[in-house]
């Protein structure tokens, strides 16, 4: 903004914005903090906001009692696998729609979007039945497939909006300079497409990591990822605040960090390119 802003006004806005930001962030701060307390400190009255004896005991206990690493590994496999598989299927589709559009392209894109609107609960039984039939219930491969399918429309859409932005003139220029189709794809298009693909991977990894309908309903002990692991703390373990916090912190930390990198892509990805 070109307008000069008075310092007093800026101070006021700084105070207000920080106050609101800290209130919104407080539950996360509190969870992380509580994970370093003992159970007695966690329910201390009045609450302990910073000064207490920090301990790592809860993390050790959570890992020991419930084999946390297995759930973490399941989450990594399921979120990573479904994202990679989705990208493999979506890149050719988005590529051809962006560079060789036909009359049907728009309709196909919108139809893909419409499959995303299908309420999961409406097809819960059929999917469970098919999973039992094909031996996919409580397997990682089954979850990879389902999460890939529910996120596929978003992946195609995001890639499409990114590929759309690669200007056609660049291809012409490369051709004028004597580039063949192979060079064109390898040296011109791919480098330009990689940032878009990376953003898409990032956002979809986050979405798959946090998915909590199919992961809760299609897994038991074997393939359960972190979403289901945390749900098992519902009761009575949930009343052990420090351990609940340690388990929660470990489940959300990787995604919080990834999420901060994906702010911009979030808007584009979740509004299907309608807001940029």
């Amino acid at each position: 903004m070109a307008r000069a802003v008075s310092t007093r006004r800026k101070i006021a806005f700084t105070a207000l914005a920080w106050a609101i930001g800290l209130i919104i962030f407080f539950p996360i701060y509190w969870t992380i903090l509580t994970s370093f307390k003992t159970e007695a400190q966690a329910i201390n009255d009045p609450p302990l906001f910073f000064f207490f004896d920090w301990t790592l005991e809860n993390y050790a206990v959570v890992q020991e009692r419930s084999d946390y690493m297995r759930f973490l590994w399941n989450s990594v496999i399921v979120a990573g696998g479904s994202t990679l598989l989705g990208i493999l299927v979506a890149v050719p589709a988005a590529w051809s729609m962006a560079f060789v559009p036909s009359k049907a392209t728009k309709d196909i894109l919108l139809w893909m979007l419409s499959t995303k609107m299908l309420p999961a609960v409406g097809v819960l039984y059929p999917i469970s039945l098919l999973f039992i039939q094909f031996g996919l219930l409580d397997t990682r491969i089954g979850l990879v497939l389902v999460l890939m399918l529910i996120n596929l429309p978003i992946i195609v859409w995001m890639l499409y909006t990114y590929f759309k932005e690669i200007p056609g003139e660049i291809l012409e220029a490369a051709r004028m300079d004597g580039a063949g189709l192979r060079e064109e794809i390898l040296f011109v298009l791919t480098p330009m497409a990689i940032p878009g693909i990376a953003s898409t991977v990032l956002l979809n990894f986050i979405l798959a990591w946090n998915e909590a309908f199919w992961t809760l309903n299609l897994t038991a002990a074997g393939a359960a990822p972190l979403t289901a692991f945390i749900a098992s703390y519902s009761s009575p373990e949930g009343l052990f605040f420090a351990k609940l916090s340690a388990a929660s912190t470990m489940a959300i930390a990787p995604i919080l960090i990834l999420g901060w990198f994906s702010q911009k892509q979030l808007v584009r990805g979740l509004t299907f390119g309608a807001v940029k």
């Binding site: 009045p46 419409s114 039984y125 901060w260």
Partner: protein
Amino acid sequence: MMAPAVILLLGWMLVPLTMTLYFSFKRYLPLRGDSLARGLDWVGFENYTRFISSSSFWPSVQTTLVMVGGVLLITVVLGVLLAMLLDQPFWGQGVVRILVIAPFFVMPTVSALVWKNMFMDPVNGILAHLWRFFGAEPISWLSDASLQSIILIVSWQWLPFATLILLTAIQSLDSEQLEAAEMDGAPVLQRFWFIILPHLSRAITIVLLIQTIFLLSIFAEIFVTTGGAFGTRTLTYLIFQRVVDSQNIGLGSAGGVYAIILANIVAIFLMRIVGKNLDR
């Protein structure tokens, strides 16, 4: 090259949908001995009428409307205010933005459990401490104000989304237009009402539609907090209970068809906006 994606999605949509439709016209109670192998009885529209006339249907519709409406109202109103605040120049913009967006990245089961136990617990929760500090009697949030509590949790999760999208939209506003209005002496409220709000209308519509679609199928937040008790049984959760708890597949499938129709009505509007955008 589109074929793999199209075929996969077509299969993902058609196969389960056809099965749901099929079951919705059948009597199918696995616990009473009905099985696919022995064949199911055709009951016509009986499941559809029974689902609607059951005593839990209308309350669940009401719960769904209150929950979705409440969350939409809170997130959009606060989202607009917050986006306008974050658009102002102040120190530490980047950090505050990160703080505000963070809840969106917390998995639903974590946010629900953290709120339920560490905040809303009537004895040891932070809110109970706060209430006692001000000399008030702590509230049993999830049993006495259950629906409001869930609305609070879900709003906390979705406020970042609304804020981020509205902020993106505000930043595309031409600041010269606002300055001109300010020079002409238009008061703050008028500038907001006649310039900012109209500029945001499209973004607000998109936030409303996308959130509605996600909110209609809210599941984990109810599953780990109240399990559908204390008046928090939404349409989605009612269908889930019919299928999973009472194992009445026919009835649940009929409910599923209603949910699909409902979601599609919302989806049509969203698709129109997104479709228009494609033409540009």
